[in-house]
Amino acid sequence: MAQLTLDKVTKTFQDDDGEIIAVDEVSIDIEDGEFLCVVGPSGCGKSTTLRMIAGLEDITRGEIRLDGQIINDQPPARRNVAMVFQSYALYPHMTVRENMAFGLEESTDMPDDEINERVEKACKDMGIFELIDRKPGELSGGQQQRVALGRAIVRDPEVFLMDEPLANLDAKLKAEMRTELQELQQDLDVSTVYVTHDQTEAMTMSDRIAILNDGVLQQCATPLECYHEPNNLFVAGFIGEPSMNFFPMTLDGSTLTGEWFEYELSDETVAAVEGTTDITLGIRPEDIELVQSDTGPNVFDSTVHVVEPRGNENTAHLQFDESMDDQFIATVGGMKQLNAGQRVKVRFPENAIHLFDTASGQAIRNRTLDEIETVESVV
């Protein structure tokens, strides 16, 4: 049972040019048993944050609390956290058994047979029992990954810390391990902080996502909130693959005017954006509709530039004007045939558009979620 709290945690490094702020007043509450993903581009401070929780990095300002106890100055071993590293960081000269037992031997005075029992149980749980007397060099990447996880589990920590643990696996194994890791975390019910640069991992695995950019926390919310109701331009662009399309526009009365098209806003929306004139319009690729004729407002002509078939869907790179590089992306159903060079009409439905203040990047209006339906259970 553990609640981990980051309270205005700040980390600065000294450089020749002065102070570099790696993590800037990040505050997050991680509930007991919660799976929190920290995502962001490389160099955003996510690994530093994790290392501060682990105790591998000093905290410049702020507090980290575990169940209300400040652990800022506790050495790593006393924090009761276990960490899984990207490189697995297994001890190459020890067998799997010794690798997993090492932490228990060093940090507890548990008798040898009890350690052995726990190690063997963890190995069975992880499905690596037959490898228990091998050394890491004789294992595949996926197996080493399991040993690294097993080494964390066997410690029975209050918090799991994971630093891009799946980054070195191939795509298929990664998808498998993702599910497995999620199940494991649910079974163990241990609070987990998981750092990744891969937004798919963050979306699919976590209870909540914390998005960092330049050391600043952009948003901390459930995956779907981050997706549908991003706080700002950065979150909107970072979450989602392919990314949201952005168009810089100017508001004039009830019309947004951009370089390529004009967009008519409803009175309701105009009221919502009151007072801002420089606006960025965002729309997710799957919300762009291909239509046959000018049905209603906000239908534009465009040319198909490139089509990337994915089987379940087609990713179409479209252009308003062929001579310019003004590409935007729309995803359409896999059964819809599209060809490069074709002229099509696209509609940007008003309930699906996001509007951001161009200057500050803050979201002014997010898409409406009226269309969300709940699937009824079959009795």
Binding site: L56, P75, P76, A77, F85, S87, L90, H93, E106, R151
Partner: protein, 309 residues
């Protein structure tokens, strides 16, 4: 058998010229390097007159063969060999172990002022033996006995009554002093060798061990030390050869005849008025035996360590 012979001949026929050239070059290299050794071995089995009559590298004839030179050399060098091993083995082990610990403290653990210490240690590698001979002798002959006498008689005066005397510089003390000198002199180079090796060890692994609750010493004992075995082979071979082959420190620090090391005995053996080449060569071969054995024993580990596996 005949089929395999045929294969072999076929192989010879189809061998490329470049490969033949390579083998010829390698053979020439072997001959070049082994020629002096072969000459020494041949010479040590020849009588004085046979040596004068034959070419240096030709094997001795039936009448010119003798084991006398080898026997003389062996008997002269034997006590020196024992002394050398007594002195060199502890010195080698101590400098390798201390070098490895120092390197660990200077790479894996981070603390203030580290760079300064590294610079001093690296500077230590380049201090020539000659520069320290006089202070070294003064330290062992005067400074240390004086300090020790003063210390023991002050602190334990109630036992010694102020009459304790530093033991006279007898043979074993001289060997011990030589050994300690070599151990201390070897630490910088050993530290440097281990340091470059430890810098290649993954930081994440050390961090994992810290999270596992291991103390700094436990990390050294359980992780670093087992991983540095190939590097130990490198430093042991290198350091043993250095210490064993040294004559200068031994000449300054060891004057008791019974405590002389192999290099001193070798100098005595060859330093007579009349040059007898067969005993000189026999002495050189006998004196080289321990280093040769060390290379043979640790050769594989040495190669691994140098290759950085």
């Amino acid at each position: 058998m005949s089929i395999r012979d045929g294969d072999f001949i076929d192989q010879l026929r189809s061998t490329e010229n470049s490969r033949i050239g390579l083998y010829a070059l390698l053979l020439a290299g072997i001959a070049f390097y082994l020629f002096p050794v072969e000459t020494a071995v041949m010479t040590m089995f020849k009588t004085e007159s046979a040596f004068a009559r034959t070419l240096p590298f030709a094997p001795p004839g039936a009448d010119g063969f003798t084991l006398d030179a080898l026997a003389t050399a062996w008997n002269t060098l034997r006590p020196g060999l024992v002394n050398s091993l007594l002195m060199a083995i502890p010195a080698t082990l101590v400098s390798a172990l201390l070098g490895s610990m120092t390197a660990y403290g200077l790479t894996t653990i981070s603390w203030r002022g580290q760079v300064g210490v590294v610079v001093l240690i690296i500077a230590g590698i380049f201090i020539p033996y000659q520069a320290v001979l006089v202070p070294l002798a003064q330290f062992w002959f005067q400074v240390l006995p004086g300090l020790l006498n003063g210390f023991v008689n002050t602190v334990f005066g109630f036992i010694t009554g102020g009459n304790w005397q530093y033991p006279s510089r007898n043979g074993y003390v001289q060997l011990l002093q030589l050994s300690i000198t070599h151990a201390a002199y070897g630490i910088p180079i050993c530290t440097l060798l281990f340091r470059s090796y430890y810098q290649s060890i993954s930081d994440e692994m050390i961090e994992a061990a810290r999270l596992d609750g291991a103390s700094a010493f436990s990390i050294y004992r359980n992780i670093i030390l087992p991983l540095s075995l190939p590097m130990f082979a490198v430093t042991l071979i290198y350091q043993f050869t250095q210490v064993y082959n040294d004559l200068l420190f031994a000449l300054v620090l060891v004057n008791e005849p019974a405590s002389q090391v192999a290099t001193q005995r070798l100098a005595a053996l060859t330093g007579g008025v009349v040059q007898s080449f067969n005993t000189t060569m026999a002495g050189a071969i006998v004196a080289a035996l321990p280093t040769l054995l060390v290379y043979i024993m640790f050769g594989e580990q040495f190669a691994k360590g140098v290759a950085g596996e």
